[in-house]
């Protein structure tokens, strides 16, 4: 395990180009360091490169150039199998559309990555139950995804991501398909897990309600990191930072972040 000062994730001058002539720049020279215990939100409008960056950090895609280190390991030279094994043992994923395996029950979905990591049956079952309990969905363990609500499915997805206690969990728009109340509850759950278990969360969102929960916010714009805010480091309040850099309109004088977020959420509706 890396030390607290050593970054869990180190992204150095990463570019991701698309198109036949590589004319479309999804990411253009991104540098980012994520340290242990971060609860980091990648914010920014659609098309800013949030998902692309998460995919690259999650080893789901290859950068056009640049270097990505996960837990001190340079991922550039890894083959497909090595990348899969690194994901299996070191990364957890939460997706916007939950992405549960529809033919498996909630319990089996959570157990699946534990099977892949080679854990014994008893240990698997214990960890699966613990994870389901932690997200408050244990009573639905025998249900298939189609029998669960969106919020319940996302909780199962969170349980799946945390069951094996990976050091890093990547979540792409985890609340994107949830209503605001369920979304807020989910982010609270993630924050709780971050604080209780020390799991590093790196998630993307463009929802101010979600972003305001982050302890660190990285704003992407046109494939580049535009601004960054970190709790305890920056003098600006989070609300002002969000207001200035995510809505495109300056926040009203004296308005605190919570009020701003409420009104912002109302405007969005």
């Amino acid at each position: 395990m890396p030390s607290l000062t050593e970054p869990l994730i180190k992204v150095s001058d990463v570019w991701r180009l698309f198109g036949p002539q590589r004319q479309d720049r999804a990411l253009a020279g991104v540098n980012l360091r994520v340290t242990t215990g971060d609860f980091l939100c990648l914010a920014g409008p659609s098309g800013s490169g949030k998902t692309t960056l998460l995919n690259l950090i999650g080893l789901l895609d290859l950068p056009s150039s640049g270097q990505i280190e996960i837990l001190g390991q340079d991922t550039g030279n890894l083959n497909l199998k090595q990348r899969a094994l690194l994901r299996r043992h070191r990364l957890g994923f939460i997706f916007q559309a939950y992405n549960l395996i529809p033919v498996l029950t909630a319990f089996e979905n959570v157990e699946y990555p534990l099977i892949l990591s080679g854990k014994g049956q008893q240990e698997r079952h214990d960890l699966t139950r613990q994870a389901l309990n932690a997200v408050g969905i244990a009573e639905h363990a025998s249900k298939r995804p189609s029998e669960l609500s969106g919020g319940q499915q996302q909780r199962v997805a969170v349980a799946r991501a945390i069951a094996g206690s990976p050091p890093i969990i990547l979540a792409d728009e985890p609340t994107g398909n949830l209503d605001s109340k369920t979304g807020a509850a989910l982010i609270e759950l993630l924050l709780h897990l971050n604080q209780q278990r020390g799991i590093t969360f790196l998630f993307s969102s463009h929802d101010p309600n979600v972003i305001k929960q982050a302890r660190r916010i990285v704003i992407l714009k046109d494939g580049q990191i535009d601004r960054e805010w970190q709790e305890g480091k920056d003098t600006n309040s989070q609300g002002i930072f969000i207001g200035e850099h995510l809505t495109g309109e300056p926040p009203l004088q004296g308005k605190d972040s919570e009020e701003w977020c409420k009104s912002s959420a109302l405007r969005r509706k």
């Binding site: 789901l60 899969a84 994901r87 997706f95 992405n99 033919v103 089996e108």
Partner: protein, 406 residues
């Protein structure tokens, strides 16, 4: 092991997810396999009928001659020491053999004449090897000196009936032309037109006397239970030595062997076509399944399933389809074969003039377990091979692209 277990669980549940499509694919595989098993068994039945007809009319399973014997040679070639040969056969546990004297001759009846093969036989021995005495349509087998039995085709051509007489002209052992009048005691019909028009039977002693060749035997024909007699032929060659010529029915009647080979080749082509269709069916199903589940493959790739693991999952589904098709197809095919082995198909309307159906017109299925296993193995192999291209596509898919697939 645990990963294989979850892979199988996923494979079966994924197939159950779209029951109708899976069932249709399984039905197509099962139907193709059942048809192949039935075709194969009927083809075996046909081949057995062809061989039975060929061997039981005259040839037998194996024939032993003296060296220098030729089917079309006019001169008589003696089989040396036939009693010693008979003892050797008995010592090998073979009792179904018949000693014969065969010669060519000419029959004369009024203004007509025809070249024929004269068979001097011992009726009791001959009954163990051929069905000639059971093919009598008129009269009875010859028993005494100047009695003869001939084919219906020959009798009709000469206008002869039981009780009538004919003259046979032949060369005796010294090359002298001999003639003698014989009374017709029986008329046979084997269904093999050429045989019925050119063969004539009389008691062995009678022909030996006629050809002035007392005790002479030119041929011993054996009837053996198995169709492949190469082993017995080799054993006999070793036991009897170089003074004897031993030939299997395949060597004596290569046209039948060639016909069987031709049938097998044709069947092989048919099987290849059917397997190709089965393969296309599986590829189609698996490609659809793969395309529909790109996001799922992206998800399991994100969870850490390796490309090999994804290939294994898709291939497992293809194998499951093949296995289910094989089991159901085998059950249906073998059930039909079992019925056809007992009852057969009556081909009266289409085989009335076929020499191989002269005994009866019932074609029965004959199952060959090696073929059953091979056909099943090919079905499974086809399923695996057909599953590989979509499995490869799924495994090589960029997980990020797969996850964004709609």
């Amino acid at each position: 092991m645990k990963e294989i277990s979850i892979t199988l669980k996923l494979a079966f549940r994924n197939l159950a997810r779209n029951r109708r499509r899976s069932l249709l694919t399984i039905t197509a595989i099962a139907f193709a396999l059942a048809c192949l098993l039935i075709f194969d068994a009927l083809k075996n039945g046909l081949h057995q009928k062809m061989v039975d007809t060929t061997t039981s009319t005259d040839i037998g399973s194996l024939q032993i001659h003296g060296q220098g014997y030729g089917v079309n040679l006019i001169s008589l070639t003696e089989l040396p020491k036939p009693d010693e040969v008979a003892n050797t056969l008995r010592s090998m546990g073979i009792s179904t053999f018949a000693k014969r004297l065969k010669a060519t001759g000419l029959i004369l009846a009024g203004p007509k004449s025809a070249a024929v093969v004269l068979h001097g036989v011992i009726a009791k021995e001959e009954d163990r090897v051929t069905v000639i005495n059971r093919r009598l349509v008129q009269g009875e087998s010859p028993t005494s000196g100047k009695e003869v039995m001939l084919g219906q085709g020959l009798a009709q051509a000469f206008g002869l009936t039981v009780g009538g007489e004919l003259t046979i002209m032949a060369q005796d052992i010294f090359g002298t032309t001999v003639t003698r009048r014989f009374t017709i005691t029986g008329i046979f019909q084997t269904g093999v037109t050429a045989f019925d028009q050119g063969h004539l039977f009389l008691p062995l002693a009678s022909l030996q006397s006629f050809l002035d060749a007392p005790q002479m035997i030119s041929e011993i024909a054996l009837s053996l239970p198995e169709q492949d007699h190469a082993t017995e032929a080799n054993l006999l060659r070793q036991s009897l030595g170089s003074r004897y010529q031993i030939r299997t029915w395949e060597e004596i009647a290569p046209d039948v062997t060639q016909l069987i080979e031709l049938n097998d080749s044709t069947m092989g082509i048919l099987i290849a076509i059917v397997f190709l269709i089965v393969a296309m069916g599986i590829i189609n199903t698996m490609t659809t399944i793969t395309f529909e589940r790109f996001r799922e493959f992206g998800t399991i790739a994100a969870l850490g399933v390796t490309p090999t693991g994804i290939m294994r999952l898709v291939t497992a589904e293809a194998i499951a389809l093949g296995l289910a098709g094989s089991l159901i197809g085998s059950a249906i095919g073998l059930g039909c074969c079992l019925y056809l082995a007992n009852h057969g198909i009556d081909l009266t309307t289409v085989t009335s003039a076929n020499q191989y159906f002269s005994n009866n017109h019932i074609l029965k299925a004959v199952m060959d377990w090696r073929q059953v296993l091979t056909t099943n193995a090919f079905t499974m192999l086809t399923a695996i091979l057909a599953g590989l291209p979509p499995a490869w596509t799924a495994a090589r898919q960029n997980p990020a692209q797969a996850l964004s697939h709609l």
